[in-house]
Symmetry: C2
Subunit: 300 residues, 2 copies
């Protein structure tokens, strides 16, 4: 089994491939999301793995657009907990650290770490440096072996590139999940005893008042649970919307099949993006957002 | 009037301040979105201007979270068309260009430009270089005056920093809008004759099947138009959702006021984030997504 993902080895998307398809999955790093779709379409990979929504940054519309444009189907989902770690080359220490490389979004998500470092007069200030991606920043440490440079990336990147973890989970927000989808050419059988989820993209025939109320009635009146809803405006046509819906159940059987037939009666454009085994995110106990660093021992 | 925004002068957020509050508005650049909220709360600025959703990247949940956490209200909206341009110092030319700085997201959104440049054997290849933000990349050209370095940023950054625009709208996707909100301590009067919009955050008392159907009934049965809906899962509580809703009408009057009273009857946690003058995005005629560069004359 080969899985295509966007990014370089050690990226959160690479870890999502393993979480979805096992540690032994072979992976094909791609430069763009379009390339991930092309890799699956042309058979260079049997699966594509895509981030679809993040708990802080929201849904990735671009990947929804690609799902609607391509004739592939969703065959799985996983929720990956994003834990930004401070990594250095094994020869480097906290005392030698002067700058930290990462993607600007990761640097922004960890800005309290840089502020604390600057405020702590017993430490040298550490400067954030932009890099193309988190895993690429980690890889650069393995390549260059610098004493004064660290990277913010996942712990998985440290394992992969033989780096040392100085701090775990240094982000301002403790809870940060990304939901990833696995895509394939053909649907896969949902294991018995596992709840199924179905993802839909639906554009009503016209934007009349209450159209979504009717759409949701199709599911609510059959007792079908809704797990996600999102309206996507069409910038070219300000009064046209597409809705993204995730509902519990398998599109091929029972009440969901009937509900989808009912939805087709309403007209418009319905795309069933796939039915797959539903996966719940890890439960993180509620806490204040005040950051608490858990520094690891720096064996100097 | 002082408006706080996240980023540096010349950023798309800075342009959004002008689009919302006029060209003469004084602006306060902030490092983070939290600082924008603090600036308005502590009176250093009378308005905050925040990106809330992008047509490619989706809603910015972090800013919705901040709206729910803070006691400020939305007083306006605008849709800014993002047009990435290739900028250089006035002394530089296309022939001297070897690398282009920008935020990784902007570089990714323009990767077809780099690919075309590499494919065109009459041109020197141009290398993408990461920078903290688009406007910062533009500013660095004004500071350093390099002949071989360009930046991808908005045309507004070129005007502000006295740079030359080599190419307009070099992004792969022609249509890219960001919706910005203006926030303030107190609501403002909506001008007569302008349609009002109201933004809500609502968490139902419990996640029962069909709860959203009931919620939408509150609006649909009163003929109130829905312009946006989004479910936001709570990563700490997998079966708890918050919904973000935008509806047409003013929360203080008429059927919307009654609908909100009705919604309060259902229980749960309702936050009215503000009522404001509704603004429609510029209409972009539908076209194929195939990119066509419109090169401007390079006065060498």
């Amino acid at each position: 089994m080969i899985a295509a993902f966007q990014g370089v080895h050690g990226a959160y998307s690479h870890l999502a491939c393993r979480q979805l398809l096992g540690d032994k999955v072979a992976t094909l790093p791609c430069e763009t999301f379009d390339e991930v779709f092309a890799a699956v379409e042309f058979g260079r990979a049997q699966r594509g793995v895509l981030p679809i929504e993040n708990s802080l940054a929201g849904s990735i519309h671009q990947n929804y657009d690609l799902l609607v444009q391509h004739d592939l189907c969703i065959v799985g989902e996983t929720h990956l907990r994003v834990r930004h770690c401070l990594l250095v080359h094994p020869t480097a220490t906290r005392a030698t650290l002067r700058e930290v490389r990462s993607h600007p979004q990761a640097l922004a998500q960890c800005n309290a770490f840089f502020a604390r470092n600057t405020a702590d007069k017993t430490r040298h200030p550490v400067k954030p440096m932009v890099w193309f991606d988190t895993a690429g920043a980690a890889k650069s440490l393995a390549d260059e072996k610098p004493l004064h440079v660290g990277a913010i990336a996942g712990e998985f990147a440290a394992e992969l590139y033989g780096l040392k973890v100085l701090d775990r989970n240094i982000a301002n927000q403790e809870v940060n999940f990304t939901r990833f989808l696995a895509i394939a050419k053909k649907p896969v059988k949902i294991p018995a005893g596992i709840a199924a989820k179905t993802s839909l993209a639906y554009m009503p025939p016209r934007n009349e008042v209450g159209v979504l109320f009717k759409v949701l009635g199709v599911f609510a009146l059959r007792g079908i649970d809704l797990c996600k809803i999102e309206s996507r405006p069409n910038p070219s046509h300000p009064f046209e919307y597409r809705f993204y819906l995730d509902i519990m159940g398998d599109a091929a059987t029972g009440p969901v099949q009937k509900a989808l037939d009912h939805l087709r009666e309403l007209g418009g454009d319905l795309r069933v993006l796939g039915s797959y085994a539903s996966a719940a995110p890890e439960i993180v106990p509620k806490r204040s957002n005040t950051h608490k660093t858990k520094p690891t021992k720096d064996k100097k």
